[in-house]
């Protein structure tokens, strides 16, 4: 190959990826850098945003316990949501995987179906069922005399976790499902022939092998829940703020963009650290299963 041709072929990958790269830089990297810069700017009720470099916003977040409580709530909700989806999603995927052909595709559709519906619509559905005295389920239970006052759901963390878990379930099921596809179809028979009962097979043979799937599903669900906006906004409202809804309020209601940017940046950095850290741990722990 001539030098010119070699140079051409070395340039080709860059030329081919250029459009996507430009889009990526233009709509993600630049705004992100601007947001980070924005978090160091000053803001005042009457003077608006001042492009100076100060640590006021970061200092406020670090010292005001309101932010600590809000971030703690954000991650508590994300962790509980992740646990709930793992606890329900992993068995769900396993059962689904054992179903016969026609039922399998039907129930897979049932699980994936919600992804086709807007998160807002799905969350409003929960609000319709449990929303105070007018919620359908609350009304029914009260008219049956099962409960005296409506079940607390709206504006509670429990409500947020349940609604978020519902929204996130497909990601967990699909992730575990993918891990189950890698299972040798004879592996349970092999364990059975060696004398293992059904519970032992699940615990000793199936679980360790689908654990990477559960964990990668958990990473997806955790990061999506921690940064979720629509569900916490509808269920939690103004009373129970999480990082995403707080950043939104700072941007659009208080108009304190620099503070909102600081909250958003902190959420992003925390999430990246958690996700990258746990991913590295998982890959080291399950090196043999991943290979």
């Amino acid at each position: 190959m001539s030098a010119a041709a070699e140079e051409r072929s070395a340039r080709a990958p860059w030329a081919l990826t250029a459009p996507a790269l430009m889009l990526f830089v233009g709509v993600l990297l630049i705004p992100l850098a601007m947001t980070v810069m924005l978090s160091f700017h000053d803001w005042g009720q009457y003077k608006g945003i001042e492009p100076v470099f100060i640590l006021k916003n970061w200092h406020e977040i670090a010292t005001d316990p309101y932010y600590a409580e809000m971030f703690w709530r954000t991650f508590r909700i994300a962790i509980l949501t992740t646990l709930l989806t793992a606890l329900l999603g992993a068995p769900e995927a396993y059962i689904l995987n054992r179903m016969s052909g026609r039922w399998k595709s039907f129930f897979l559709l049932v699980i994936l179906g919600p992804l086709l519906i807007s998160v807002v619509a799905r969350t409003l559905g929960w609000a319709l069922l449990f929303g105070g005295n007018n919620g359908l389920v609350n009304k029914l239970l009260m008219s049956l005399g099962a409960i005296r006052s409506p079940l607390p759901f709206m504006f509670t963390e429990t409500g947020m976790v349940i609604a978020l878990a519902h929204v996130m379930m497909p990601f967990m099921v699909l992730s575990v499902w993918a891990a189950l596809q890698r299972l040798d179809p004879q592996i349970e028979n092999a364990a059975m022939s060696l004398g293992a009962g059904p519970a032992t097979i699940i615990r000793r043979i199936v679980m360790p092998q689908i654990m990477p799937g559960v964990l990668s599903g958990a990473i997806i669900v955790f990061s999506l829940s921690a940064s979720a906006f629509a569900t916490p906004a509808i269920i939690g409202g103004r009373r129970l703020k999480v990082a995403a809804t707080l950043a939104y309020d700072e941007f659009l209601n208080t108009l304190n963009w620099p503070l909102g940017a600081a909250v958003a940046t902190l959420l992003l950095v925390a999430l990246v650290l958690i996700v990258v850290g746990s991913n590295a741990l998982i890959e080291r722990r399950y090196a043999e299963v991943f290979r």
Binding site: N189, T200, I205
Partner: protein, 346 residues
């Protein structure tokens, strides 16, 4: 008394009969092969013995006890799967130890038996390897050690060698046979490879479309095939259309210009089967012309066009001059080298 007995076992899936009327007695320590093309029901039969499938009809008995009443986990059979089905998250030693652990064998004895089992299959020193870091042949050995370490009453092998390359397969065949001879475990092998079945087994069960075609020693099934299917499935064979002429005395079997005294019991149109290595060239016999001649080192392979249809002849390369392509020859064989069947549909 038979050690393992299958008594008119049948398996149906819906309206489809996959295995029908399968009866077999296996002696203790015997090595049996189920041989047949894919879809002949051999794996289904193995899975019924293993307990992964329940027979629709018939009984399976081990030492006189009804095996189908026992849960697969309690049958105590050793199984090697085609895919090996090793536990990828466990080391070789942990894989082998699993069955012992399930039986509550104490830790010390367990370690000792695992080490012995791995050493037996030639994997001493590989205890801490994970299956994904082992070659196909090594994985196969781990699977074998895992099945044998529990001292199974019967060892079931489901096409265990089909994922190995030709050379390794041959090595494993010899090794498998030696191990089986040494420990004397009753073994059932499922295979579609006739060479494998012949070189390993004491007896072969040839199956086709869910039915047993023939049960016999490798030699019997090769030399005295009970049906056209068996003779064609086990090695190459020549089928010539012939007739038995009872109008002359003594009665004669006539295949083209080749004739011999007729065997008793048959008359009219028959099919004569002769193995290619049993046919020789002579001055008289079945008239044929050599179409192609292929040199294969230790033997020559001739494809001929005879008056009774195409024929294959194999001659040892014994240094003698061999006829060339296009030459007219006469094919002949000893009457005891052929098997004669009534011709179907004639």
């Amino acid at each position: 008394m038979a050690y393992l007995e299958l008594d008119r076992v049948a398996k149906q899936f819906g309206t489809q009969t996959v295995v029908d009327d399968f009866s077999l007695s296996v002696g203790k320590g015997e090595f049996i092969s189920f041989l047949g093309p894919s879809g002949c029901g051999k794996t289904t039969t193995l899975q019924m013995i293993a307990g992964f499938l329940d027979p629709t009809r018939g009984a399976i008995r081990l030492e006189g006890k009804d095996l189908t009443a026992i849960h697969p986990a309690k049958r105590g059979l050793g199984i090697v799967f085609q895919s090996y089905a090793l536990f990828p998250h466990m080391t070789a030693a942990e894989n082998v130890a699993f069955g012992l652990e399930m039986r509550g064998v104490p830790r010390g004895e367990r370690a000792e038996r695992v080490r012995a089992a791995l050493a037996m299959v030639g994997l001493a020193g590989y205890e801490d390897r994970h299956p994904r870091r082992m070659s196909g042949g090594q994985q196969q050995r781990v699977a074998l050690a895992r099945a044998l370490v529990i001292k199974p009453s019967v060892l079931l092998l489901d096409e265990p060698l089909s994922n190995l390359d030709a050379k390794l397969r041959e090595e494993m065949q010899i090794e498998l046979r030696q191990i089986q001879r040494t420990i004397g475990t009753t073994t059932i092998l499922v295979t579609h490879d006739q060479n494998e079945a012949m070189s390993l087994s004491d007896r072969i069960v040839v199956m086709s479309q869910g039915k047993i075609e023939q049960i016999g020693t490798p030699q019997e099934t090769y030399e005295k095939p009970a049906s056209a299917f068996v003779s064609q499935f086990l090695g190459k064979t020549n089928d010539f259309a012939a007739t038995i002429d009872r109008t002359v005395s003594p009665t004669q079997l006539v295949a083209g210009s080749w004739r011999a005294p007729a065997p008793a019991g048959l008359s009219g149109p028959v099919t004569v089967s002769v193995r290619p290595e049993r046919i020789g060239f002579d001055d008289a016999g079945l008239t044929a012309k050599i179409v192609t001649r292929i040199f294969q080192g230790n033997h020559w392979l001739f494809q001929c066009e005879s008056e009774c249809g195409p024929a294959i002849v194999i001659r040892q390369n014994d240094g003698q001059a061999q006829p060339g392509e296009g030459e007219a020859v006469h094919l002949t064989w000893r009457p005891e080298d052929m098997s004669v069947r009534a011709r179907a549909g004639a």
